[in-house]
Amino acid sequence: MRPLDEKETTQVFEKLFNFTGNNLKNIVEAPSHEGPESNPGRYCFRLNKNRVYYVSESLVKRATNVKRDKLVSLGTQIGKFTKGGAFHLTIQSLNLLAANAKHKVWLKPTAEMSFMYGNHVLKGGLGRITENINTNDGVVVFSMSDMPLGFGVAVKSTQDCRKMDPNGIVVIHRADIGEYLRMEDEL
């Protein structure tokens, strides 16, 4: 387990910024109640086996005893580095993103299952959409009951979405909660 170096940190923060915008500050400076100390600590990012974790500092302190190859997970995993060095956010970061998301999309009940099978979001499945979404923005997908279902990347801006035909793709699927069942081994 080690802290992220410069390059890695920029990559991670870029991806996060795509989804959260200025709320990134909330993520980084959130007070954490984990750990047995009564004062809330801070969160930090750690890298272990190409996976990036968002952990409270008190947890990090205690996890230093564990050997690198025996340590499996800390706190919340937010993403993975591929062998080529690129960073991708994974579904485990959904809670964190959903709490701080700038751009949101709500799906109709009929389109929920389709998204959870890994399909992209079509215009016909959109219930609600936040304003001022631009192309290639990170978008968090919710159900109509405000339950986070996953996240993706917007294809068009909000205004363009309105003009689209119902079968056009609005959000490209990146991760969804169905992956916990479909791809448990690859998480």
């Binding site: 109640h33 750990g35 409270s56 564990v66 499996v72 929920e112 909660i177 916990y180």
Partner: protein, 628 residues
């Protein structure tokens, strides 16, 4: 000739008498067309009173003399008198009946004979049938002979017959004195039951013997029947993300038939049936609930983790209990979730992230080396859901019936004993809010449960405390030839046929002190002894004393007994503190020795280097003097 004829007639008259008597009885209501018959009937009414052989003789003599009509007239008029006083008239009447209505009589005779014969036959058959019936029942109760058993063993098992025999043997065993077969001992019946149960339900010999030893016959059958059926599926609401009421509402809308689990759980729901796959709903994937068996709630409820504590879960996969612990702690504090098998780690991490648990560190160690990694006396509470033989969850996994042998159980026990010592070593006895260890298994074997607890009590300074689960059965204190510490009644056993959940065992310890040595009395006692080991707590000690007095089976000598009792009562505590002091004194002593020797060395240096002003040395000398 006359005599012969008379004899014959006598015989006929005898039979006639009986037949006609019977006929009279039958035909009293019917009007008799023939006067003779009437006469016969009337006469017979008289003759009923005097039915002796003597009368017959008289009949024989007077038969040929009198006339019918005269006798008829006489008999008609004097009927009441003839009964008592005038036997002759009766005799005449009978004689007349014989001679006059011979043909009719013979018909009647024949008919009545036939009826009689029929009746007798029926009675005989009925008796025979009764005897037969009784014999059949008795056949089930009587044990089959070895030959019969051999025959049975050759062919495929006759299931209905086995089932009947099982029921019968259980019935006999429950009321042994009255229903037993002569010559068969209780042992024979039990042996037969064991064999039948093994072949009917598919258990291997070892396992069925163990179960027979543990339960009385009726309960044993109930338990085995309960193992055949699956327990109801339960789910636990994730309080980090949802409330039970809301979740129940959402699932009911989806078409799931569910109910709150029981009084003792605020987060459990039991699922009867469901139109959608319960493990694949969007709510499941969003982490609103976890599919878990009801028995898995129990060790976490017993552990009762508080916020901001340090918890260790030594065998965490697939993570149902770990996530429950995190939910109870509201994501505060820190949990170390350990799992030895790599393949199961994936499901553990997936469940943790799905349920929104952020305070957990997952590691992949053998539980026995965890104290070295995480540090001794570093945790507030430890949960050990030990790997076991799985005899309590036969309803989930039928292969356990045939695959477990004595060696399997013994290797499980050995591992569990090592793990529990590691768990105890990890807990900090001086922790402000904790100092508890919960040990649980999904097994009903005494060797894996009570024996392991007893071992821990002997080896470490721990004490059993109530689990907080009142609805279970207390653990065994005595089991066959083994005797355990009396505080084992605070452990809890759960059975499928009693509580409708998987077979389970839960025990909760409190660590009294961080010393690795067991309490003092153990040093005197032999390793494999059955003697009770008293922890420091005086209350338990006294109780133990009483019980120790009762359970002294392997006591070697009375002197020891007296000594130990005195020692326990008076000097137990003192001994412990004394040994503690000794240790401290030794340390101090050695430090002082060291400082003395250092002083001497410095003095030697000073004398060696005369005249040189060593201010530093003087300073050191001053310090040395003060520490002395």
């Amino acid at each position: 000739m006359a005599a012969k004829g008379a004899m014959k007639k006598k015989a006929t008259s005898n039979s006639n008498k009986t037949n006609s008597r019977k006929k009279q009885k039958k035909e009293i209501e019917l009007p008799n067309p023939k006067i003779q018959e009437k006469v016969v009937d009337d006469d017979i009414s008289g003759s009923d009173v005097d039915s002796d052989v003597d009368d017959d003789m008289l009949v024989e003599q007077h038969r040929d003399d009198s006339d019918d009509s005269a006798s008829d007239a006489l008999s008609d008029g004097d009927q009441p008198f003839t009964d008592d006083f005038l036997q002759d008239d009766n005799v005449d009447g009978e004689k007349s009946s014989d001679s006059d209505s011979d043909s009719d009589h013979s018909d009647i005779e024949r008919k009545s004979k036939a009826i009689d014969a029929k009746k007798e036959k029926e009675e005989k058959e009925a008796e025979a049938e009764l005897v037969d019936n009784i014999k059949e029942q008795a056949d089930e109760v009587t044990l089959p002979t070895p030959q019969e058993l051999k025959e049975e063993a050759q062919g495929p098992p006759d299931l209905p017959r086995l089932q009947r025999r099982i029921k019968e043997v259980v019935r006999v065993l429950s009321n042994f004195k009255t229903l037993r077969q002569e010559g068969a001992s209780r042992k024979d019946y039990v042996k037969q039951l064991t064999m039948d149960l093994a072949s009917y339900y598919g258990y291997n010999d070892y396992l069925i013997e163990v179960l027979v030893e543990m339960f009385p016959a009726v309960e044993l059958v109930e338990l085995i029947e309960a193992f055949e059926k699956p327990r109801p599926m339960c789910l636990r609401t994730n309080t980090l993300k949802a409330r039970r009421r809301d979740l129940a509402g959402i699932l009911l809308n989806r078409g799931v038939n569910l109910d709150p689990l029981s009084k003792w759980s605020k987060v459990g729901l039991v699922v009867y049936d469901s139109q959608v796959p319960i493990g694949a709903t969007p709510e499941y994937m969003a982490g609103f609930y976890m599919l878990q068996s009801a028995s898995s709630f129990l060790p976490v409820m017993a552990l009762a983790p508080q916020e901001k504590e340090r918890i260790v879960d030594m065998a965490a996969a697939p993570g149902g209990k770990t996530t429950y612990v995190a939910a109870l702690m509201k994501n505060s504090g820190v949990i170390f979730a350990n799992e030895i098998k790599e393949k199961r780690l994936k499901s553990l991490t997936a469940n943790l992230s799905r349920m929104g648990v952020t305070n957990t560190v997952v590691c992949n160690y053998d539980g026995r080396e965890l104290p070295k990694v995480l540090g001794q006396n570093s945790a507030d509470r430890v949960l050990l859901d030990a790997p076991c033989s799985g005899t309590g969850v036969i309803s989930k996994d039928e292969s356990v019936k045939t695959s477990k042998s004595l060696e399997d159980i013994q290797s499980c026990c050995h591992l569990q004993k090592e793990l529990i010592l590691a768990a105890i070593d990890m807990v900090d006895a001086n922790s402000k809010s904790g100092g508890y260890i919960v040990y649980s298994t999904c097994s009903i074997m005494v060797a894996e449960n009570e024996a392991v607890i007893d071992y821990a009590l002997k080896k470490r300074d721990v004490k059993l405390v109530p689990c907080g689960l009142d609805f279970g059965r207390p653990g065994f204190i005595n089991y066959r030839e083994q005797r355990f510490h009396p505080s084992l009644e605070k452990t809890r056993r759960f059975y499928p046929h009693v509580h409708n959940m998987d077979g389970f065992f839960v025990a909760k310890f409190k660590k009294m002190s961080n010393s690795k040595a067991a309490p003092a009395p153990t040093t005197e006692q032999p390793e494999g002894g059955d003697e009770v080991i008293e922890p420091i707590d005086s209350v338990i000690k006294k109780k133990a004393e009483d019980k120790v007095v009762h359970h002294r089976i392997h006591e070697s000598s009375t002197k020891e007994k007296v000594h130990r009792e005195n020692g326990i009562a008076q000097h137990g505590k003192a001994e412990n503190t004394f040994s503690g002091k000794k240790r401290k004194e030794r340390k101090r002593f050695s430090r002082e020795e060291i400082s003395k020797s250092r002083e001497e060395k410095r003095a030697a240096l000073r004398t060696a280097a005369k005249g040189k002003p060593f201010s530093k040395e003087k300073k050191f000398a001053k310090e040395a003097r003060t520490t002395k």
